[in-house]
């Protein structure tokens, strides 16, 4: 019995660990998710504790005398209770979910920064249409998406029609979105904490999926302007529409990027 209790405590501890391990979000959208997560983890621990306690009590308080226990076939009142309470809980969780979803899906009317993100096997390309800058990574040097802090970044995410599904995932933004060939998906994020955030493809896309990395570097507005200037001055920026270099394994590289309209703020 003591061993069982210890095991229980260990599992609960590990569960709490898992709860504490959701990264502190770097974006304003992600902070909303952090808030929702707190509710989920609290209710989960409560529900889990109730169920485990009931099961453990049923084992501990079993009938030890010989003879047949009382044959109880059921009880409609208790069925109604344990049907209603979970319904109330999930409706509450659903309400919280909807509220958070509105924050994450909201589009900022501010101009901010527009970036067209193109995912292809096995590389990323970040186009800044307003500034005519384009960043593509190489297998040795994953690309960096440079954005200013505290300004909304409007992303238009796509994959070329001749490619496969990918997903844009930055763990510390608590967000990912699939890049599906022939579709353009738009979303906003506003980074609040300057820093470099690791990102990678999260939808399996073939042999070198694990190496399809990128990072997001959030800098102050002044540094962002300086970066833009340096990119334009260096002339290293590719004009929009230039095919990126071939990825590892001779991947199909988009020669004709889909004509993506630059995302405009406030548009759904």
């Amino acid at each position: 019995m003591r061993a069982r209790a210890l095991r229980l405590a260990a599992l609960v501890g590990l569960g709490l660990l898992a709860g504490g391990c959701l990264p502190e979000a770097a974006t304003s959208q992600g902070r909303a998710t952090n808030g929702l997560w707190a509710w989920f983890i609290a209710l989960s621990i409560l529900v889990g504790a109730v169920v485990w306690t009931l099961v453990t009590l049923a084992i501990v308080r079993r009938r030890r005398e010989p003879g047949l226990p009382r044959q109880i076939h059921g009880d409609i009142r208790i069925e109604i209770i344990w049907t209603t309470i979970p319904i109330v809980i999930v409706i509450g969780l659903f309400a919280g979910t909807l509220g958070t979803l509105n924050v994450i899906d909201a589009r900022s009317p501010e101009a901010g920064v527009d970036v067209i993100v193109t995912a292809f096997r096995w590389q990323w390309r970040f186009d800044y249409p307003r500034e005519s800058i384009s960043v593509v990574g190489t297998p040795e040097q994953p690309p960096e998406l440079v954005v200013p802090v505290d300004q909304p970044v409007h992303i238009a995410l796509t994959a070329p029609a001749g490619d496969v599904d990918h997903a844009f995932f930055v763990p510390q933004f608590l967000f990912k979105r699939d890049a599906i060939p022939g579709r353009t998906s738009t979303f906003d994020f506003t980074v609040e904490e300057p820093g470099t955030y690791r990102g990678q493809c999260a939808e399996f896309c073939g042999t070198y999926h694990a190496q399809m990395l990128f990072s997001v570097r959030a800098v102050s507005a002044a540094d962002y302007q300086a970066w833009l200037a340096s990119q334009q001055a260096a002339g290293s920026a590719l004009p929009i529409g230039t095919p990126p270099p071939v990825g590892p394994g001779g991947s199909t590289v988009p020669s004709n990027l889909p004509s993506v309209a630059p995302p405009s703020g406030g548009q759904p």
């Binding site: 095991r7 569960g15 391990c21 959701l22 990264p23 998710t33 929702l36 989920f40 989960s44 889990g48 169920v51 485990w52 099961v55 049923a58 084992i59 308080r61 009938r63 030890r64 003879g67 047949l68 226990p69 044959q71 109880i72 076939h73 059921g74 009880d75 208790i78 069925e79 344990w82 049907t83 979970p86 319904i87 999930v90 659903f94 979910t97 979803l101 994450i104 096997r121 001749g162 496969v164 599904d165 997903a167 763990p171 967000f175 990912k176 979105r177 699939d178 599906i180 022939g182 579709r183 998906s185 493809c201 999260a202 399996f204 896309c205 073939g206 042999t207 999926h209 694990a210 190496q211």
Partner: protein, 552 residues
């Protein structure tokens, strides 16, 4: 007429292997054994693949296999575990037990039953043959998402073998489901009303109906994919106006019910095990039937929660439906707990695995509610959090249920009990191994480790938790050995079980172990869902149907 039953009825002899008898059998019991054996072998093979993957991931850096081999391994691990182990294992138990539980002599269509087994086996072998081809087996993940599974990205016969083999296995499931529904509807013994049908058989009925609705969309998706690959189709090719999203809709309209197709038989198994080893009836028999049906219905309408991050599906609709499915699942867990409440518990291995299911599946159910919330899913989708969640559900639900069922019904199938001590060792390994393997994976996923990656950057700091997870996986592998040993050892011993080793409730315990070809010599009267229990009470001079149901 030398039937397999005659061969198997020799009591004192060790079970003889007669190839022709097995190839030509139409006996539902022998076919059930074939299903369970074949799916057990696929389980061991897929488990080995998992061990190789876990060893590769134990440390950063590519050490054991290449990226391409790793991708084939996780594809075939998922394929084997879901489609060639979990699904047919449920069908195997159903094949063996449904006719016995309803008091029938065989399935409605015995020859068709044999055909569906051979289709499943050959389909499974076909999907594995890709390993023998030069370009390797399919390497798209078991979800075979188009366009990745289209010709430019997955050339070579491996992908075609997967499509054709799994297509054949899917057809075999549909044939098996038709057979099961017909059997349950048309072959019940007199007195066996629908509301006296044992709860396992009820779960199988619902499972079979789900197979009927879930597998055809998969077959359609695979056929369209095949046309795309070889006959110039463009169903899923966006460059020519096709839709990758359509593939995901078709796949998950199959894929989500599939999760319940593999877990409901296991729920049925523990719904039989709890009452027997608590010496009480199942608490809320009708509530459990209702919950089973509600799970099935809801599971048909939650498929796009696998597509939250596509940005192409309605989030609130699929979110609320997915949340709601937790309610009937909770009803089942509460009813099982109430079944044990105040009972005289016997901690056999079958019961231990059922209790393990209660503890472990509960975590999986709770994390399932988490991923049903789109904002949280935006973080968890395609990470190790989801990997941990579905292994939690499938191991904690299906595998524990199947192990429980194996220890419970092996004496019926062979006349021999499995060694309880080996069973307890296996149980301990699986409980500890499960915790060690998958709790770290929840943490890794929350931190953002994507699934289906062969390697990761040491700078991520994921190394130590991956090492812990690998250690757990090795323990799971070791924990499988006692079960295999117990089965082999039991088959080498003389029979020791007798017709009713556990004091069971349903009709399979009213005949010899193993049962004769015709299953029953005579049947007890069927007045409740526990005819054998009623008969035992009647022999002791107690009327089990006294008003109020109180006995003793």
């Amino acid at each position: 007429m030398a039937t397999i039953a005659d061969v198997r009825r020799e009591p004192a002899e060790p079970i003889r292997f007669d190839l022709l008898a097995w190839l030509s059998t139409t006996d539902h019991k022998a076919i059930g054994v074939l299903y369970l054996t074949a799916s057990g072998l696929f389980f061991l093979l897929a488990g080995l693949m998992a061990e190789v993957m876990r060893l590769e991931l134990a440390q950063p850096g590519m050490e054991l296999v290449s990226e391409s081999a790793y991708n084939q391994l996780f594809t075939m691990h998922g394929t084997l575990m879901l489609l060639l182990f979990a699904t047919p294992a449920g069908i195997g138990f159903a094949n063996y037990l449904v006719p016995l539980q309803i008091g029938a002599a065989d399935m409605a269509f015995p020859r068709l039953n044999a055909l569906s087994f051979w289709m499943f086996l050959f389909g499974g072998i076909t999907s594995l043959l890709g390993f023998a081809s030069q370009s390797g087996a399919a390497a798209t993940g078991w979800t075979v998402y188009a366009p990745l599974s289209e010709n430019p990205f997955s050339p070579g016969p491996g992908m075609d073998l997967w499509i054709a083999g799994i297509g054949l296995t899917g057809l075999s499931s549909v044939i098996g489901a038709v057979n099961l529904v017909t059997t349950i509807y048309g072959r019940r013994a007199p007195g066996m009303t629908m509301l006296r049908v044992p709860i396992f058989t009820w779960n199988i009925l619902v499972t079979a109906v789900m197979i009927l609705f879930a597998f055809p969309p998969l077959t359609a998706a695979l056929a369209l994919l095949f046309i795309d690959r070889h006959f110039g189709g463009a169903f899923f090719n966006p460059a020519l106006g096709g839709s990758p999203i359509l593939f995901q809709h078709l796949f998950w309209f199959f894929g989500h019910p599939e999760v319940y197709i593999i877990v409901l038989p296991a729920f049925g198994i523990v719904s039989e095990v709890f009452p027997v080893f608590s010496s009480k009836p199942l608490f809320g028999y009708k509530a459990v039937i209702f919950a089973t049906s509600a799970i099935a219905g809801l599971s048909m309408s939650v498929w796009a929660h696998h597509m939250f991050t596509t940005g192409a599906v309605n989030l609130p609709f699929f979110s609320i439906m997915s949340f709601l499915i937790a309610v009937p699942t909770g009803i089942k867990i509460f009813n099982w707990t109430a079944t044990m409440w105040g009972g005289r518990l016997r901690f056999t291995t079958a019961m231990l695995f059922a209790i393990g299911l209660l503890y472990v599946f509960t975590i999986g159910g709770i994390t399932g509610v988490m991923v049903a919330s789109p904002p949280l899913d935006f973080q968890f989708q395609d990470t190790y959090f989801v990997v941990a969640h579905f292994h939690n559900v499938i191991i904690g639900g299906t595998v524990f249920g199947i192990f429980s069922g194996l220890f419970f019904w092996f004496p019926k199938m062979s006349g021999r009990r499995l060694d309880e001590r080996l069973g307890r060792i296996a149980w301990a390994c699986w409980i500890v191994g499960f915790t060690l393997t998958f709790i770290p994976q929840y943490v890794l996923g929350a931190e953002g480790m994507p699934r289906r990656i062969a390697d990761y950057d040491p700078a991520t700091g994921w190394g130590s938790l991956n090492l812990l997870s690998t250690a757990g996986a090795i323990l799971l592998g070791l924990g499988t050995i006692p079960i295999v040993v117990a089965v082999v050892a039991a088959l080498r011993r003389p029979p020791d079980a007798g017709p009713d080793p556990w004091e069971g409730n349903s009709l399979e315990w009213a005949t010899s172990s193993p049962p004769p070809h015709h299953n029953f010599v005579s049947l007890p009267p069927i007045r409740s869902e526990r005819p054998v229990f009623d008969e035992r009470m009647r022999r002791q001079g107690i009327d089990p149907n006294t008003p109020g149901g109180g006995v003793g």
